[in-house]
Symmetry: C2
Subunit: 137 residues, 2 copies
DNA sequence: ATCAAAAGTGTTATGATTACAAATCTAATT
DNA sequence: AATTAGATTTGTAATCATAACACTTTTGAT
């Protein structure tokens, strides 16, 4: 995605499109790799030598407040971040640790008697063996 | 649940039924409140004045390895623990922070083309407004 | 009663995240 | 072009959950 398009998205969400913010958004958009703060920081530090890890935290928290970004607590070691896009669920392979995005068909998760729970966020993640790793075992 | 029954469960899972372990199991069984390590520790310290928080960590990790206990990473502040029982999903109210257990009808989560992902654990949690809190707003 | 293995304890270390204050940048106004 | 207030970024220090580790206590078999 071009800088111009990202600038527009940020502006639309009342976020001043600073260079750091654009680059962080661009990273999320390019790699779609559910990165940690550290991964983003290490990737951008070459391009932005003055970058501070605090800025990465601040930016991701801001993006999350504005609902541009979803925070994933998959392993409870480090938070992971992804752009809010179409609904999907996450599958973590316990062998190779790879995180897969799996399309999600929007089933109705609430059974009878629970209809007046108002859902604002759905998090579904599965742990197991991915096809590659289950072949090996 | 009686001490005797818990002793048996632990024995069946090759866990020596020490007093601390039994009490921690009993707490999980009685309250079903998705407690944190701290909550368990603070509740048991009256009964077991020598209890160490490390013991609570060790015990819960052991229970988790033996698949007696499920670790929940709901908010990524503190881990929460619950006994492995029948399938259910979690709903966290963003207003009152209460965690609800909601029965879960075992839909098939994997769409076509993803059948060879082997699921070992399912985690589904929803965030939103519980019935009480959505009435108030 | 002895003794090795298991369990528990308490202190210290680790590592992700936040708080905070200072520095820098931005953009509007003169 | 200079000024300046406000936003952004930075770097350090603090926080807090969890793990590592070494020591002590308990257990259970001989």
């Amino acid at each position: 995605m071009e800088t111009k398009a990202i600038t527009e998205i940020l502006n639309n969400n009342d976020i001043k499109p600073s260079y750091a913010r654009i680059q962080i958004y661009k990273y999320l958009e390019m790699y779609k790799s559910h990165p940690t703060v550290d991964e983003i920081y290490l990737h951008l530090i070459d391009e932005i030598p003055t970058l501070s890890k605090t800025t990465v935290y601040n930016t991701l928290n801001l993006f999350s407040e504005r609902e541009l970004v979803l925070v994933l607590n998959l392993d409870n070691l480090e938070k992971r971040y992804e752009l809010v896009e179409q609904n999907h669920i996450h599958f973590i392979c316990e062998s190779c640790k790879k995180i897969y995005d799996i399309p999600y068909e929007d089933n109705n998760l609430l059974p009878k008697g629970f209809e007046n729970f108002q859902i604002e966020e759905k998090h579904i993640f599965l742990k197991g063996q991915c096809p590659k790793c289950s072949k090996l075992n």
